[in-house]
C-alpha cells in the first residue's frame, strides 16, 4: 500500500488500472449512492420475504403475500370472462342471422369462433379450414350437408354419422361393388358418366352405357343431373369440388366401396355460445350460403 500512485495533475490516487496510458482515478463514490445501494439490499430482503423466492427441493418458499403467477393467470381469465359476459349474453339471445348482421357481434363471434376452431376443429379441417381429401374444405361454396347458418349449426351440434348422438346427420351409400350390386363394367360406365356430368374428359361410349345404371342406382340421392342433395348428404357430382378425388379410378373406387366421413357432434362438449360463434366463423370463411 505504500507506493500508491498519485496522479500529478489532479492529486488523486489512481486505481492502478491502465488503458493505453490512460489511468483510472480512484474518486470517492457519493454517499447518497451508498445509501441507495443499502436501500436496494433492504428492498431485496423484503422481496424475498414477501414473494416466492428461495427454491426448495420440490417447491419454493411461497412468501407472506401468497402471490403466485398461476393464481394471477386464473384471475386474469376470470376477469376476461367477466368482460366478455355482456357480449356472450347478446350472442346467447340473438339468432344466428342477427349475429351475422350486427358488425359488433359478428366481429366478436368470428374471433371467438376462430379460437374455438383452432382448439377443436383444426385436427381434421386444418388451421385454415382448407380440409384435405376426405375432410371438406370449409372455405369453398360446396356444402355436402348445406351451407346455410342453420345447416352449419346443426352439423356442428350433432355431427355426421356420430353414433353417440341420436340426432346426428346420417346417410349411407351402398357398397355397389363390394356387395355385388353392380358388375365391374357397370361401375366403370357409371364412373365415366359421372365424369361426363362434371364436364371432365370421358369415354363417350362408356358414359352412354352408364346412364341407365346411374338413373336406377344413383339418381335417388345424387339426382338425375348429379346436383346431389344436401338433405341426405349426397355430394354434388357435377361441380369442380371432389371429396375423394375426380379421377376415374377414384370415382370407381368410391362406387365399389364408399368411404364415409365421420364428424363428432359437439353439443355435449361445447356450450351454445361457442357453437354459435363457430357457426358464424365457418359461415364467414367465404362460402356460406
Amino acid at each position: 500500500m505504500a507506493n500508491k500512485e498519485v496522479d500529478k495533475l489532479s492529486g488523486i490516487e489512481t486505481t492502478g488500472h491502465e488503458w493505453d496510458g490512460i489511468k483510472e482515478l480512484n474518486n470517492p463514490l457519493p454517499r447518497w449512492w451508498l445509501w441507495t445501494f443499502y436501500a436496494t439490499c433492504i428492498w431485496a430482503l423484503g422481496y424475498v420475504i414477501a414473494y416466492p423466492a428461495i427454491p426448495l427441493i420440490s417447491s419454493a418458499t411461497t412468501g407472506v403475500l401468497g402471490y403466485s403467477s398461476r393464481a394471477e393467470v386464473a384471475d386474469e381469465l376470470t376477469n376476461a370472462k367477466i368482460a366478455q359476459a355482456d357480449m356472450l349474453g347478446k350472442i346467447q339471445s340473438a339468432s344466428l342471422d342477427e349475429i351475422r348482421k350486427d358488425p359488433e357481434m359478428l366481429q366478436f363471434a368470428v374471433s371467438g369462433g376462430r379460437s374455438a376452431f383452432l382448439v377443436n376443429c383444426v385436427q381434421c379441417h386444418g388451421s385454415g379450414a382448407a380440409g384435405s381429401p376426405g375432410y371438406p374444405n370449409l372455405n369453398d361454396d360446396d356444402w355436402i350437408w348445406g351451407g346455410k347458418l342453420e345447416d352449419i349449426y346443426v352439423t356442428l351440434k350433432h355431427g355426421i354419422r356420430f353414433q353417440w348422438d341420436d340426432e346426428t346427420r346420417d346417410s349411407q351409400m351402398p357398397a355397389f361393388g363390394a356387395d355385388e350390386i353392380l358388375e365391374r363394367d357397370q361401375i366403370n360406365d357409371i364412373a365415366e358418366y359421372v365424369r361426363q356430368l362434371a364436364g371432365l374428359e370421358h369415354d363417350a361410349e362408356a358414359a352412354t352405357r352408364g346412364v341407365s345404371p346411374y338413373v336406377e342406382n344413383c339418381a335417388a340421392c345424387h339426382k338425375e343431373d348429379g346436383a346431389g342433395d344436401p338433405e341426405q348428404g349426397a355430394p354434388n357430382l357435377k361441380d369442380a369440388i371432389w371429396h375423394y378425388g375426380s379421377s376415374k379410378q377414384e370415382i370407381a373406387q368410391q362406387i365399389h366401396k364408399p368411404r364415409h366421413g365421420v364428424m363428432p357432434g359437439w353439443v355435449n362438449r361445447l356450450d351454445d355460445e361457442t357453437l354459435k360463434k363457430l357457426t358464424v366463423y365457418v359461415h364467414s370463411l367465404g362460402g356460406g350460403e
Binding site: S10, G11, I12, N27, P28, L29, P30, R31, W32, W33, L34, P103, L106, G126, S127, G128, A129, A130, N137, N139, D140, D141, D142, N236, D239, A240, I241, S284, G286, G287
Partner: protein, 495 residues
C-alpha cells in the same frame, strides 16, 4: 475573514471538489449559491420564463379541428394512437417523423455544443431550469447565501422550522404543478383537470403525477448538481463534442494570475499581481459549487453566472470586464502565448459546424417535404395465406384479402374500392350487401381505419399463371385523393 479591496469583500468559499476532501464515500458538500445580477442572469430569467411558460401553458391551447377530432392544440392520444400538434396529425405508422425530430434534436445538440459549449446544460435543461426556480424560492424564504449558511448551521428554532416548512411547502406545490402539467399532454386538459380534482381520473394519472412530483422535488430540491455530475450521461459525451474552437466559460488565467487579495497586494506591491483579486465571488455564485479558476471541468454546466459575478467585480475595481468569459481554447492558448486574441463569432465558422448545420437542415427539409406531400388516404392489403386460394364449385378460383383503408382526415368520406389486373374478376365484401362487382363504394368514418374482408373470384381460365398481380385502388372523387396497393392473386399450378 472579511478583507475589503476597493469595496469588494473576500468571501470564505471553497470548491466542493478540492482535493483535501476525499474519502471512499463522499458526503455531499452543501452549496449555497449567492445571488448575482448581470447580462447572463437576465438572459437566464427570460429563458426560464419562456421554457416554463411553454411547458405549463401548451396543453391548454385550443385548436379547432372540426367535430370529429379533439380541439387540443398539442395532444398525445395514446389510447387512439394519434399525435396532434396544431395543424399536424400523426398516425402510428408515421412515427418516423418523431424519430426524425429526435435525430434532429441530437444533431442540434452536437451543433450547439461544438459552437457554444454546454449551452443546453446551462440554460435550457429542465434540471437547470427547475433548480433555478427552486433556488428563487429558497432565497425568497431564507435569504441570500450568508443568511442561508447561518440558518443551516443554527439550532432548530421556531424561525428555522417556519422557514424550512414554508420553503418545502412551496417546493412541493411547484413539484405537483410540474408533475400535474405533464398528464395534460395525454388527455383533454379541462376534462382531465375536472376529473383529477373530483378523483375520477384514471389511476395512471395519479401515479404519474405522484412520480413526477417526487422526481421534481428530489432532483431540484435535494440532488441538484449531483444529477449533472453523477446521473446525467451528457457531461460524459461532452468530451467528444467540444474542441479547441468551442466556446466554454473560461477563467482567463493569463490575465488574472498571480491572484492576490488586498493584504498581499499591499505588502508585496500591486505590480506583482494579475487582475484576480481572489474575492471568491465566482465560487460563491456557482450552483455547481466549483471553482472555475481550476479550469474547464466535468461539473461545469456553463451557466455563465461566474461571468456575471466577475464582471461586476471588475467594474467595481475599475478593470476591464471579461476576466472570466466565454472563450475558445485556441484563443486562450494564444493569449497565454502572449498574442492578443479576442474571441469573436469567427469561432463558429469551421467545417464541423457547417456539417452539423447542414445535416440538421437536410433532415429537417426532407421531413418537411414528406410532411407537406404525405397522403391522407391509404390502403393496406393482406393476402390470406391459409389457404392461399380456394377452388369454387363452378371451377373458379377465389382469394381472400384483408383490406385496411385509412381515412386520415377528420371528416367522413366515401371512397370507391376498385381492382385491376385480372380480367373478369369480381369481389365481395363480407358484411356488405353489394353485389359482386369490380368496384364497390365504401363509407369511411372520420379519422378512422376501416378493415374489410374481401373475397375476389376469377375464372381459372383468366389467370395467366400460378401467381398474378392484382392492384386495389381506393379513390375519392370529391377531393381526388387516391391510394393503391398491388397484391398477389394465387391459383393452382394446373388449370
Amino acid at each position: 475573514m472579511v478583507t475589503v479591496y476597493n469595496s469588494v469583500e473576500r468571501i470564505d468559499a471553497e470548491a466542493v471538489n478540492s482535493k483535501e476532501k476525499r474519502s471512499s464515500y463522499a458526503a455531499r458538500v452543501k452549496i449555497f449559491p449567492k445571488r448575482v445580477a448581470g447580462a447572463f442572469r437576465q438572459l437566464k430569467w427570460w429563458i426560464m420564463l419562456v421554457t416554463l411558460g411553454i411547458y405549463y401553458v401548451t396543453p391548454w391551447l385550443r385548436w379547432d379541428r372540426g367535430p370529429h377530432a379533439p380541439d387540443q392544440a398539442v395532444l398525445v392520444d395514446l389510447a387512439n394512437g394519434r399525435f396532434y400538434f396544431f395543424f399536424i396529425e400523426i398516425w402510428p405508422q408515421e412515427l418516423f417523423y418523431i424519430a426524425g425530430l429526435l435525430i434532429m434534436a441530437g444533431v442540434g445538440l452536437f451543433l450547439i455544443t461544438s459552437t457554444v459549449g454546454r449551452a443546453w446544460c446551462g440554460y435550457t435543461c429542465p434540471q437547470t431550469v427547475w433548480v433555478d426556480l427552486f433556488l428563487v424560492v429558497e432565497r425568497w424564504v431564507e435569504g441570500d447565501r450568508n443568511a442561508r449558511i447561518k440558518l443551516d448551521k443554527g439550532p432548530w428554532s421556531f424561525d428555522k422550522w417556519r422557514k424550512r416548512l414554508l420553503k418545502h411547502a412551496i417546493w412541493i406545490v411547484i413539484a405537483v404543478a410540474t408533475g400535474g402539467a405533464w398528464i395534460f399532454y395525454f388527455a383533454d386538459a379541462p376534462t382531465l383537470l375536472k376529473n383529477f380534482l373530483t378523483f375520477q381520473a384514471p389511476f395512471v394519472a395519479y401515479s404519474t403525477v405522484a412520480i413526477l412530483t417526487a422526481t421534481t422535488y428530489v432532483f431540484a430540491g435535494f440532488m441538484r448538481e449531483q444529477v449533472c455530475t453523477y446521473m446525467c450521461p451528457w457531461p460524459r459525451i461532452q468530451g467528444a463534442m467540444l474542441d479547441e474552437d468551442s466556446l466554454v466559460v473560461t477563467y482567463n488565467g493569463w490575465r488574472g494570475e498571480t491572484r492576490g487579495g488586498q493584504k498581499l497586494r499591499r505588502s508585496e506591491g500591486e505590480e506583482n499581481f494579475g487582475d484576480c483579486i481572489d474575492c471568491n465571488l465566482c465560487v460563491a455564485v456557482c450552483p455547481q459549487g466549483i471553482d472555475i479558476r481550476d479550469g474547464q471541468q466535468l461539473e461545469c454546466i456553463t451557466c455563465a453566472l461566474c461571468i456575471d459575478a466577475c464582471d461586476g467585480v471588475m467594474e467595481k475595481i475599475g478593470k476591464p470586464k471579461g476576466l472570466i468569459s466565454y472563450a475558445t481554447l485556441r484563443n486562450y492558448n494564444s493569449n497565454v502565448a502572449g498574442v492578443e486574441s479576442p474571441t469573436t463569432w469567427r469561432s463558429f465558422v469551421r467545417p464541423r459546424t457547417f456539417i452539423y448545420a447542414g445535416v440538421w437542415s437536410l433532415i429537417g427539409l426532407v421531413m418537411l417535404g414528406f410532411l407537406l406531400t404525405r397522403d391522407r388516404l391509404d390502403i393496406n392489403v393482406l393476402h390470406d395465406r391459409n389457404p392461399v386460394y380456394v377452388r369454387l364449385s363452378d371451377g373458379g378460383i377465389r382469394n381472400g384479402y384483408t383490406i385496411k383503408v385509412l381515412n386520415m382526415r377528420a371528416e367522413p368520406r366515401t371512397v370507391t374500392l376498385s381492382m385491376a389486373g385480372i380480367e373478369g374478376a369480381t369481389m365481395t365484401i363480407t358484411g356488405s350487401d353489394a353485389a359482386p362487382s369490380n368496384s364497390i363504394d365504401v363509407d369511411l368514418k372520420p379519422d378512422k381505419l376501416v378493415s374489410m374482408k374481401v373475397y375476389v373470384s376469377a375464372a381459372a381460365a383468366s389467370l395467366k399463371g400460378e401467381v398474378s398481380d392484382i392492384t386495389f385502388t381506393v379513390n375519392n372523387t370529391t377531393d381526388e385523393e387516391s391510394a393503391s396497393y398491388t397484391a398477389k392473386f394465387n391459383g393452382p399450378a394446373e388449370r
